[in-house]
């Protein structure tokens, strides 16, 4: 399976080919990424991909709704899960990690 590193942009919406996961790129980071879910390259939300794609078994640990994920080597990456699913988010072989929440006090 081939994955391609692509420069992301803020606002880009992507979906998993192997589960329900959908994300939105909040901050694109400083370099191109191969954003995958379940070990398979994610597609643009409006794109249609081939049927019957198999996930990578070890990469199905799940993504959590509303959580932000970042790259262990680039904390300028921020991806928000808008629909949760069973796949694990990664940049190719590097799993994305949960970004620590630093909540502000409610202001309105």
């Amino acid at each position: 399976m081939s994955t391609e590193a692509v420069g992301l942009r803020a606002g880009l919406r992507l979906k998993s080919q192997v589960c329900a996961t959908e994300v939105i790129v909040v901050r694109p980071g400083t370099r191109p990424l191969s954003l995958c879910c379940g070990g398979v390259q994610m597609l643009g939300r409006e794109a249609s991909g081939p049927a019957g794609v198999t996930p990578v078994a070890e990469r199905m640990r799940g993504s959590l709704l509303g959580k932000r994920y970042t790259h262990p080597e680039d904390d300028a990456v921020e991806v928000l899960v808008t629909v949760s699913g069973e796949g694990t988010l990664s940049d190719g072989e590097t799993d994305l990690v949960l970004k620590e929440a630093k909540p502000l006090p409610a202001s309105d």
Binding site: R13, I24, G66, K67, P103, L104, P105, A106, S107, D108
Partner: protein
């Protein structure tokens, strides 16, 4: 992505949690989503170009906000206290608006000649309508239109696009961070940016909202206690009234974990009394403008606590600051010649960030070439990035060549037990350029002489900051969002001086 996504995520995570209204008969997040989608179906069929709302903050507001968003139409909440001709003028500036109005405002809404549907009628139609999915609104399209009351005569119409509002919510709120028992008390009107902001942030946080549309301090306290409200936002005049009502007693609101305030300058004496009355509550000052999609700087509970407990004057002074800017916001303090100043220097505050709109219908964007927005507020940043606001550029009084900030004199007057409210303005003077006039509203039953109040200020501040005159009035003119209308006082005082 549009603001609709905020609701669909919330409904996914907290479907059966009460979103709107009281515990007993509230509307759940999933019902709110259903209503919003049904409302959107109705609005699309109606073929309106925009949605105007004349009514108070209530469960209808988030429903209408998300329905308009799902239909791809901007929502323009209008000030329900405005006279018919003014409302007509504002409605005429919108694209083919359909007006949804609370029943008590239907008549005045109809007098504008625009199409009006009563809130009850609209809601019952929503409940009878089967939601039909439609295309999602473009992130670049307008989500909310807000008329600013500002200092100019003709209100400007701020355009808040989905992208701005999303940036604000995603940047400042953690998804589904509220607990089942959390409750926000909404008492700011829908035409105030916080009235819209609170609908979005509470939905995204999964926090239920209860409403108090007609504020009065006794009812506010009662509701906070009976509904076990955990978070509330108030404008300074509301907090002043709550504090005055308590009259030194403790507020006794054990569930109130946080109290946010903003919208206008908070007089220091009021804040200090409030901190004493609500000792277990975390206070947060939120600074923001309509043009910046609400909050861009927050002074949090820790900072309030450190300031009030500290002997260090620098930390204590932070109580008067607007706090630090939120993630995604950059700041510049600029001198009159446009050069960027360093920490400690006062100039005009400019801000930049994805949540900053700076765009008005008709006149367009006021952002500079690099995307910076001029707030027209004087400010300085300290070494640690704390923002200190110095009042609007145009509020500074120049008396005998000396610059005087009204806030300093106002705070001094407010420490006098007889003074309930005050505004200090500069009135044209042949000798001084401007003379300092304090307009004072006394507490009910209280008395004070002019000489006494002048001596009180002289005892606290430099002689040149003593008001030249003190004038008593029953009330001060405020904008609908609680800011003092200084030019009206100056005009009144100047006219009185001529007679």
């Amino acid at each position: 992505m549009s603001i609709s996504m905020l609701l669909s995520m919330a409904a996914s995570a907290s479907a059966d949690r009460v979103a709107l209204g009281r515990k007993a008969d509230g509307i759940t997040f999933s019902s709110l989503e259903r209503d919003a989608n049904a409302g959107a179906t109705l609005l699309r069929e109606d073929a309106a170009g925009s949605v105007a709302f004349i009514g108070q903050n209530s469960p209808l507001l988030p429903t209408l906000l998300f329905a308009s968003a799902a239909a791809g139409l901007p929502l323009a909440p209008l000030n329900y206290r405005l006279p018919g001709e003014v409302l007509r003028g504002l409605l005429d500036r919108l694209d083919a608006p359909v007006v949804i109005a609370d029943s008590r405002y239907v008549e005045i809404a109809q007098s504008t000649g625009h199409r009006v549907i009563s809130a009850e009628e609209w809601l019952s139609a929503v409940r009878r309508t089967e939601p039909v999915p439609g295309p999602e609104a473009d992130p670049g399209s307008a989500a909310v239109l807000l008329f600013t009351s500002g200092t100019t005569a003709d209100p400007k119409c701020v355009v808040l696009r989905h992208s701005h509002l999303l940036s604000y919510v995603l940047g400042t709120v953690e998804f589904a961070s509220a607990e089942e028992h959390d409750r926000a008390l909404i008492s700011v009107p829908p035409y105030h940016v916080a009235g819209i902001g609170s609908a979005l942030t509470n939905v995204y946080a999964g926090r239920g909202m209860v409403y108090l549309p007609d504020f009065d301090p006794a009812t506010w306290l009662e509701l906070v206690r009976s509904e076990r409200v955990t978070g509330a936002m108030v404008v300074p005049t509301m907090l002043a009234r709550v504090v005055e009502h308590l009259d030194g007693a403790q507020a006794d609101c054990p569930a109130l974990a946080s109290l946010a305030y903003g919208g206008a300058r908070m007089p220091l004496p009021v804040l200090e009394q409030a901190l004493r009355a609500f000792p277990e509550t975390g206070f947060a000052n939120a600074y923001g403008l309509t043009e910046t999609s609400s909050t861009i700087a927050v002074l949090g509970p820790e900072d309030h606590r450190k300031a009030i407990e500290s002997d260090d004057p620098a930390l204590r002074a932070r109580l008067g600051s607007a706090g630090q800017v939120v993630p995604g916001i950059e700041t510049q303090i600029r001198a009159k010649d446009g050069s960027v100043l360093g920490p400690g220097a006062t100039g005009e505050l400019w801000v930049r960030g994805e949540q900053v709109s700076g765009e008005y219908r008709g006149t367009g964007s006021v952002l500079d070439a690099d995307g910076w927005f001029p707030t027209r507020d004087l400010a300085y940043l300290d070494e640690d990035g704390y923002l200190f606001l110095g009042g609007r550029n145009d509020d500074t009084i120049i008396r005998g060549g000396e610059n005087i900030a009204p806030a300093e004199v106002e705070d001094a007057l407010l420490t006098h037990p007889a003074v309930a409210e005050t505004a200090v303005v500069g009135v044209p003077d042949d000798e001084w350029g401007q003379r300092l006039v304090a307009v004072v509203v006394l507490r009910e039953g209280a008395r004070a002489e002019v000489a006494e109040l002048r001596a009180h200020v002289r005892g606290l501040l430099r002689g040149s900051r003593t008001p030249d005159e003190v004038v008593f009035r029953d009330e001060l003119p405020y904008t609908p969002t609680g800011k003092i209308i200084r030019r009206r006082l100056v005009a009144w005082l100047s006219a009185a001086a001529e007679n």
